[in-house]
């Protein structure tokens, strides 16, 4: 018998955690002499009050969906892939090569090719740590985080020495040609009378991310491979007894994880910047860990958590623009949410479980 109903586990606990984080954040804002009500108002209207705000919120959410799914898939095989950052960087390199070195007649074909390119590069970057874990027992946490640094150095080398246009100071590639620019929400949804999502970077890759959520759900819960991944994640010895090869599952799960992280690049590199810059990932690979934790490694949970973090990012930007709240404090607010929803889960869960148990006893 479950300790508490499912809805409490999925909805109530995250909600209470969020409220606690919000209360603490309000105290922090009060302590530096700003008005928390005004700050919350600014964040909500800035992130959700206009199509412009939504355009940024969904743009960030798209990034976090990809990296969140990447971490979630690895979680199901009980592996902690914290190399999403590096895998997404390499994914960016894949996108840049696809977009710059091949002439595409239309963006839709280029998008398909970019998906393949970014997934391949991301998967390739995850393959080496996966091999080391499967065959050599080198811990995946150590190797993936080290590969983040190698990815940064490699990307820096490529941008400074190989792909930078002659005479440019900026360590970045040239702009991608016009034909591979992805349609933004602005061009997709604006009508002649009504300009929506003006200037916002959200683009068609949001729908690719939604599709990825569905595909990951089907993979994990509706296929034999997904079953093997989950079985291996629950018990390695059990999986071996059932004839599942740990080496195979480790490598396949990490390849899928790396590919998903890499595919983030179609949003931030191809959709937003339209060129590859050095700092294109900006920590989204790490946010993905929090997103997967909060989303309980379920694609729908990842989707909701990604939306929340998208809201925090865009709301934080509006705070930075219109108040004198320093950006370090905005990071503190974002960190409080991560702390409460991810790390301090049991603080809310245990009292709630007790409460539900006593309620149930009372009813009997």
């Amino acid at each position: 018998m479950d300790k508490m109903p499912k809805w409490a586990d999925v909805i109530l606990i995250p909600l209470i955690s969020l409220i606690l984080a919000a209360i603490l954040s309000a105290l922090v804002i009060l302590a530096i002499g700003e008005n928390p009500v005004e700050a919350v108002n600014l964040m909500v209207t800035g992130a959700l009050g206009s199509t412009y705000g939504w355009g940024y919120t969904l743009y960030y959410a798209t990034n976090f969906m990809f990296t969140g799914l990447a971490v979630a898939v690895a979680f199901h095989a009980r592996m902690f892939n914290i190399g999403g950052e590096g895998q997404a960087m390499l994914g960016g390199l894949g996108v840049a090569m696809v977009c710059l070195y091949i002439d595409w007649p239309h963006w839709s074909i280029a998008l398909l090719a970019a998906c393949v390119g970014s997934a391949l590069f991301g998967a390739m970057w995850a393959a080496i740590p996966a091999y080391l874990q499967a065959k050599r027992g080198s811990h995946i946490v150590i190797t993936t985080i080290m590969f983040n640094f190698i990815a940064a150095a490699f990307l820096n080398y490529m941008l400074v020495n190989v792909m930078r246009p002659q005479g440019s100071q900026d360590p970045a590639t040239a702009r991608f040609p016009e034909t591979v620019h992805l349609p933004t929400f602005q061009s997709m949804f604006s009508t002649a009378e009504n300009a929506l999502f003006r200037g916002a970077p959200a683009n068609i890759s949001f729908f690719v991310a939604l599709l990825a959520c569905v595909v990951v759900w089907a993979l994990i819960w509706r296929t034999r491979l997904g079953y093997e991944i989950r079985a291996y994640g629950h018990s390695e010895t059990g999986a071996v007894y059932a004839g599942i090869s740990p080496v195979r599952i480790t490598i396949i799960a990490m390849l899928i994880s790396g590919a998903l992280a890499g595919m983030m690049a179609i949003n931030n590199v191809m959709g937003e910047a339209e060129r590859l810059v050095l700092n294109s990932t900006e920590g989204a690979g790490f946010i993905g860990i929090a997103v997967a934790l909060m989303g309980r490694s379920h694609p729908f949970g990842v989707f909701l958590a990604a939306l929340l973090f998208g809201f925090l990012y865009q709301g934080g930007a509006e705070l930075a623009l219109w108040t004198s709240i320093p950006r370090e404090l905005i990071v503190v607010i974002q960190a409080l949410v991560i702390l409460f929803t991810g790390a301090l889960d049991n603080m809310v869960r245990m009292p709630l479980e007790k409460l539900f148990l006593s309620l149930r006893k009372g009813a009997q």
Binding site: Y56, Y59, Y60, F149, A152, A153, N156, Y157, V160, R164, Q166, G167, S168, Q169, D170, P171, A172, R175, A192, E193, N194, A195, G199, P201, N268, E272, A273, R275, V277, L278, N279, S280, E282, Y313, G316, A317, A320, L321, P326, R327, I330, V331
Partner: protein, 332 residues
């Protein structure tokens, strides 16, 4: 499209009516943040000086992500801020995309000089000229015949600093050894004083006795270790002579604060175009004050002054690293 125009027209009208009363300038700091002890902080200082002197107020934002670059530009422009001052070369690309949509707003881009737009004031600095002068001083102060250069992140801009430095050192002593290291290849390299300290020790073991740090916050570690180990160091961007009086030979000044102060003072009437602030414009230079008076001999001061004049007059040609992405005096 016509609606787009009328919308923008309306926005501009609102901006103008608001602007009549208060067209606040806006300042956009780069990802390093406004208290980076170097480039962005210099801009902050310039803005503060303007605010204290005039009693004016200005809007500011410290960017947190790449996507915010264009966002901040558009939001400030729509709110009627004028001029909008941006820091760092990474703003060039978003500026090129945005500036045309707000023809009545003036933009000031520091460290940018290659854009083509009528409403942008582009201010770049001839860092190689200032670095050349401190390179000369390093070579004259060195007894071992080896001087060091520690850069922050390995990007062309920092190689540009190192290249000018090496040319200056070799102009004084053609046989001098210039040891050059970069702190790293990620933005973390701008703020890693521990690694800066390690690199300093490594260069000392290679014989360097004067070390020039062009590394943002990392340079604090370089200057500290150099002072502890009893060798000389050279600061960058701001005047850092006071950090270790008598131990810092000089600082290569890059007057970002002046660029920001001037732009804010001029306000909406700021002159647009491309401006290079070199030695002639006092945009770069060497810091001479009470803290390094003991270290700079009369002979050294004379040589630097002569070279300064020579560069301004065109008698001395300091090659910029950008010209063909190589350096005649130093291999990176």
């Amino acid at each position: 499209m016509s609606l787009m125009k009328s919308l923008m027209g309306a926005a501009a009208a609102v901006a103008l009516t608001a602007g009549a009363a208060l067209a606040e300038p806006a300042l956009i700091f780069d990802l390093g943040g406004k208290f980076d002890k170097s480039f962005n902080e210099a801009a902050h200082n310039g803005a503060q000086r303007w605010a204290n002197k005039t009693g004016g107020t200005y809007r500011e934002i410290e960017l947190q992500s790449e996507a915010q670059r264009e966002q901040a530009l558009r939001r400030f422009a729509e709110a009627g801020a004028n001029p909008i001052i941006t820091m760092g070369f990474a703003m060039a690309d978003p500026l090129a995309a945005v500036a045309g949509d707000y023809p009545d707003t003036k933009f000031v881009a520091v460290d940018v000089n290659w854009l083509d737009a009528p409403n942008i004031r582009q201010v770049s600095f001839a860092e190689h000229e200032g670095s050349y002068l401190v390179g000369m001083m390093a070579a004259m102060a060195s007894e071992s015949g080896t001087v060091g250069f520690i850069g922050g992140m390995d990007i062309p801009l920092i190689r540009h600093f190192g290249c000018g430095y090496a040319q200056g050192a070799k102009a004084v002593n053609p046989d001098i050894e210039v040891v050059a290291n970069m702190t790293g290849t990620t933005p973390a390299a701008w703020n890693d004083p521990v690694k800066g300290s390690e690199l300093t020790k490594a260069q000392i073991s290679q014989g360097a006795d004067v070390i020039y740090a062009a590394a943002g916050g990392t340079g604090v570690g370089v200057l500290q270790t150099a002072a502890d180990e009893g060798i000389l160091s050279i600061g960058v961007d701001s005047n850092q002579n006071h950090l270790h009086p008598g131990k810092v030979l000089t600082s290569m000044l890059k007057r970002v604060d002046v660029a920001v102060y001037d732009a804010m003072t001029a306000g909406e009437d700021v002159e647009t175009g491309v401006f290079t602030m070199g030695l002639a414009e006092d945009g770069v230079g060497v810091a001479m004050d009470d803290n390094n008076k003991e270290l700079v001999s009369a002979q050294m001061a004379d040589a630097v002054e002569a070279a300064r004049k020579g560069i301004i007059d065109g008698d001395i040609n300091v090659v910029a690293y950008y010209e063909n992405d190589t350096c005649p005096a130093l291999q990176f």
